[in-house]
Point group: D2
């Protein structure tokens, strides 16, 4: 995923506020799903939610307004109940900005209980 | 509604980002409803949504990190289909920060069609 | 400016939260300046700030998650002390989502006083 | 730190968006500093920045609109170059919502280089 820093994402230190990275990771995950042929909007309409269980971000260098950057995402592990992604954020010129990891779980939209990995996602993971 | 400026609400000009004011107004509206005995969460559960139709904000002076401020809200007009509020934002020391107005409409959560002012809100407006 | 609705921009009504539109307009303005050969980051480094004085948004139809949309921007008026833009937001399929207008003023970054339109911007406005 | 969930913090799953927790933690840290007699705004004016180096959040249960919650903060470790905090977020009724940890570093506002723990903060840490 490629993006550019927007004005409102920068705090009074003149750097992208650390909370914004959670949005960058989310956007990269949804883009990755789209690239695999899965619409996250359609998943939710089918009653499957993927809330976050864990997030961890290590900040190496700051991003500034108008910086272009890339988020690389790797599917690290899948189990019956969770997906783990690992992320690297790089500025366009190759400077390493941050690394991160997330664990998502599968939840039924109605019962709000944990469910096993839905078939539509299993099919993707088997190809990886 | 009284509040204090949080760090993340400030942009790289060192002032509260203008979009944050929309959140302040929303918080003041919901607080006002609570003060009238109406829970906005309960309204939504009853299938009544109050989306924004219009917003207008005039910024006079900036707010900075750790500033304390007040949002005063006046119910300006109610019709069968809309509520208009007018807001004044002041810094704790009396400096006028901004004025604003909003128009909210009533929408049925299922059909997503405009509906008339629900009885529970009419009862409040009659007392004003 | 073209963009897609991100997950975090949507509220529990299932529509883009109204405050997010202020970010869309900001992004469109900065893109417009870039298209005219002006970097907003460079303007700020030169000590020129363009804070918002007024914003007004009229919401016609909601945007939903994964919707693609366009923000059209027109330079409406320039005076010695302010620039007015008018915006139209459309969903990709042509549905009109919102219209908006903003007034920005010129401020010296050090004194924080209003200044006249800087030469670099005047040059652009004369061509319009 | 006590707070209530605002409407705009909730996503279309009907739960507080995970990125918002980074703001809650920040607010709790700044409140803790205030309680120790340190104004974070004053620190910044003195040229001392405390950017985040690491954040890690584990989400146990979701927060919903209008939920009241508490953020408990413990100073976990201080070294010459970093402060580690540990956080517990609880709903008002005692349900455990999340745990988190952060590492902040000291940076000189002008050189943007890492600096040793400033004297004003050392004085606090010695009392702990």
């Amino acid at each position: 995923m490629r993006a550019q820093v927007h004005y409102h994402q920068v705090d009074q230190m003149g750097i992208v506020h650390h909370a914004q990275y959670a949005y960058f990771l989310e956007q990269a995950r949804i883009q990755w799903l789209t690239d695999q042929g899965i619409s996250y909007a359609a998943l939710e309409k089918d009653g499957i939610l993927l809330p976050l269980r864990d997030i961890s971000i290590h900040y190496s260098q700051p991003l500034r307004f108008e910086d272009n950057f890339l988020v690389h995402l790797v599917l690290e592990k899948t189990t019956d109940y969770a997906i783990d992604f690992f992320y690297t954020i790089e500025r366009e010129d190759g400077i390493k900005i941050a690394t991160a990891s997330t664990k998502l779980v599968y939840v039924d939209a109605v019962s709000r209980k944990a469910i096993k990995c839905p078939a539509v996602l299993q099919a993707i993971f088997q190809d990886k």
